[in-house]
């Protein structure tokens, strides 16, 4: 199941190596033939195509950009994935010592079953009651299960084995001990039914309704994808544009007939390509290391991510395009980005916020990104189910790009 994650990761790494190492050499050996077309039918699109191609290529040549674009989000994934306990998910397990004082066949079989169960982690060192107590005192085990000498023997006047297992626990692990007792009682109930067929007129059966219940990692992952999109889409242009203005590179481009929309579109295309690669690596690691279960359709996820990148990139284009220098760009970006990151549920889920705050933050541009990712990736929804998120993103895209085009300055 998580092999797919490894394969995805390997595929992406191979692709990266290919574009950084192999492709340039192939090109050097076979220089592109001079094709001279003085008149091109769709000049505007040719312009956009060349600009986005060279933009993307430049990213993969720049080690610093690669670090911040690809490795940096991964570090966050490991840090926050580790905190949210993604690898364990909702599997509760108990560290127990098993003291089997009985020699009955049933007791042997029962203790063997315990050792194969996922719920119990048997501490093999604790073989006597004394060592088990010592380990409980040091919190190395949560509880000790004692099977007494008469456990599992057939008592006189009965035709089935019986016994009473004891669960010993210390004061500092009361809840673990009690839960363990309940778990064992449940186990015995099933066993009992096999030996004594008594009618049970009233029973209660617990049933898990939603197989795909969300773990905290699912929330963390959607938030981290959002964070990564913010990093690429906002901090990218905010850092680069003022530098381009300072060196007069944008001004130089302005002496050519290049249009703002052509420049924006090419930036969009290259950021979408870079973003998809970066996010694909995050997916691969999340699947391989943190057991993320992707139940949604990858194509739909990719389409939604591209849309999200374009929307969020607009904020970066607006800030970077407006700012004359980094002294203007950095504070403005921080004022906008940091509240948005926290209020949109990047690092902790929005449902933990007070309701009035939830209803406000629902409309932030990053919220539909994070919600949409979670709905598609972990809840198996389709693009047709997340119309609200797409609608919100659409409205924001119009607003953001309207502003970005209005405030853009070439120098």
């Amino acid at each position: 199941m998580h092999h797919s994650g490894f394969y995805l990761l390997i595929a992406v790494i191979v692709l990266l190596i290919f574009f950084r190492r192999v492709w340039p050499r192939l090109r050097a050996n076979h220089p592109t033939k001079p094709v001279v077309h003085r008149s091109i039918k769709h000049k505007s699109f040719y312009t956009v195509q060349v600009f986005s191609r060279l933009n993307t290529r430049r990213f993969f040549r720049d080690r610093l950009a690669l670090f911040f674009g690809i490795l940096f989000p991964l570090i966050f994934l490991f840090v926050f994935g580790g905190i949210s306990g993604g690898s364990k998910n909702n599997n509760v397990s108990f560290r127990v010592a098993v003291i089997n004082e009985s020699h009955s066949a049933f007791a042997q079989q029962f203790s063997h079953q315990l050792s194969t169960s996922k719920t119990f982690k048997i501490n093999k060192d604790a073989t006597t009651l004394a060592t088990a107590k010592d380990k409980m005192a040091k919190s190395q085990v949560d509880a000790t299960i004692v099977l007494p000498a008469d456990f599992g023997t057939v008592k006189p006047g009965q035709n089935y084995p019986s016994g009473e297992a004891k669960v010993l626990y210390s004061q500092n692990s009361v809840s673990a001990g009690q839960t363990l007792t309940t778990v064992l009682e449940g186990e015995f109930k099933r066993v009992n039914a096999k030996f004594v067929s008594t009618q049970q007129p009233f029973t209660a059966v617990g049933q898990q309704l939603n197989e795909k219940s969300l773990t905290s990692f699912d929330y963390t992952f959607a938030g981290l994808l959002g964070f990564s999109i913010v990093g690429l889409g906002i901090f990218g242009p905010v850092n680069v544009f003022p530098e381009l203005k300072k060196q007069g590179i944008l001004r130089r481009l302005h002496t050519t007939p290049l249009k703002v929309w052509q420049y924006f579109t090419s930036t969009m295309i290259s950021q979408a390509i870079i973003g998809l690669i970066s996010l694909a690596i995050m997916f691969a690691v999340a699947i391989a290391v943190f057991h993320l279960k992707v139940v949604g359709n990858y194509l739909e996820i990719a389409i939604f991510l591209v849309f999200s990148i374009i929307t969020i990139l607009g904020i970066g284009l607006a800030i970077g395009g407006w700012a004359k220098n980094e002294r203007q760009a950095a504070p403005l970006a921080n004022i906008i980005v940091f509240p948005m990151i926290f209020l949109s549920g990047t690092f902790f889920p929005r449902f933990l916020m007070p309701e009035w705050l939830q209803s406000i933050t629902y409309y932030l541009p990053l919220t539909p990104v994070i919600d949409g990712v979670r709905l598609l990736v972990t809840e198996g929804k389709h693009l047709t189910d997340i119309g609200t998120q797409l609608g919100l993103l659409g409205i924001w895209t119009v607003i953001i790009y309207f502003i970005a085009f209005r405030v853009f300055r070439w120098e």
């Binding site: 000049k43 040719y46 312009t47 600009f51 590179i249 001004r251 130089r252 302005h254 002496t255």
Partner: protein
């Protein structure tokens, strides 16, 4: 009579109530190398920027090859090539890609090698721009400004900061560009450069053109007014010595 490619009429630019360009008039003929001279703050750069469509025109009009700059900026942009004072390019970009990029900005697909060879950078086609020297960057910048075969080419202080060899090379390049039929308009602070290179020069001060003629005529007019240099003119100067000692070959 040669054709007029640039016509500037009553051109005005006002900054904070002060006239930076104060109603200037001049014409540039096709195939000329035209110099605009003057001290800092005279209005040279502002004038150039208005012609290049980069600054709003506050008064008067500019016509480039029959196109009105104020109302047809995009057509004018496609007709002119601009070489900025300090050329800069985004790093991690190969020289051939710079040419490709600039051609694409004009919607054209060209052979980068052709343009790089013209400025003697063919061997460096696959190098990154950050590996170039100052003189090489200037040459790349010129190549990039010519990808769309402009009719009018602007150079803003092209030789500032270059060594004598690179300067001489740039003069040759400028003449080559002119010989291809491109009209060149340049600013410079080096009078020897203007004297050697320019067919005609305009001298600006305080936003006004105070003289416009060929360098030779301007010198003659000064001499007629009875001007005499205090020192005796030597037959060679220190730059001649420098070139004689170090040779004319380009170093970069």
């Amino acid at each position: 009579m040669s054709e007029v490619i640039l016509k500037v009429k009553d051109l005005r630019k006002v900054y904070d109530g002060k006239p930076a360009v104060d109603g200037i008039n001049f014409e540039v003929k096709k195939g000329e190398i035209f110099g605009i001279l003057g001290p800092n703050g005279a209005g040279k750069t502002t004038t150039l920027e208005m012609i290049e469509t980069m600054r709003e025109i506050d008064g008067g009009s500019i016509t480039v090859d029959g196109l009105d700059v104020a109302s047809q900026p995009n057509e004018v942009k496609a007709t002119i090539g601009v070489q900025p004072q300090s050329p800069a390019f985004q790093d991690k970009t190969r020289l051939s890609e710079i040419i490709e990029l600039f051609a694409a900005a004009y919607g054209e697909n060209v052979d980068p090698m052709e343009f790089l060879n013209d400025v003697k950078l063919g061997e460096k086609a696959n190098a990154y721009v950050e590996q170039l020297s100052g003189g090489q960057k200037q040459r790349l910048s010129i190549a990039a400004a010519l990808v769309h075969s402009p009719k009018l080419f602007f150079m803003d202080e092209p030789t500032t900061g270059l060594d004598p060899q690179a300067r001489r090379n740039l003069w040759d390049l400028t003449r080559e560009v002119r010989d291809k039929g491109v009209t060149v308009i340049m600013t410079t602070h080096y009078m020897d450069e203007a004297e050697i290179l320019c067919d005609r020069v305009a001298v600006m001060d305080n936003g006004k053109i105070i003289a416009i003629d060929t360098p030779k005529n301007l010198i003659q007019q000064l001499l007629k007014r009875g001007f005499k240099k205090e020192q005796q003119v030597e037959q060679a100067n220190l730059e001649d010595v420098f070139i004689d000692l170090t040779g004319k070959a380009l170093r970069d």
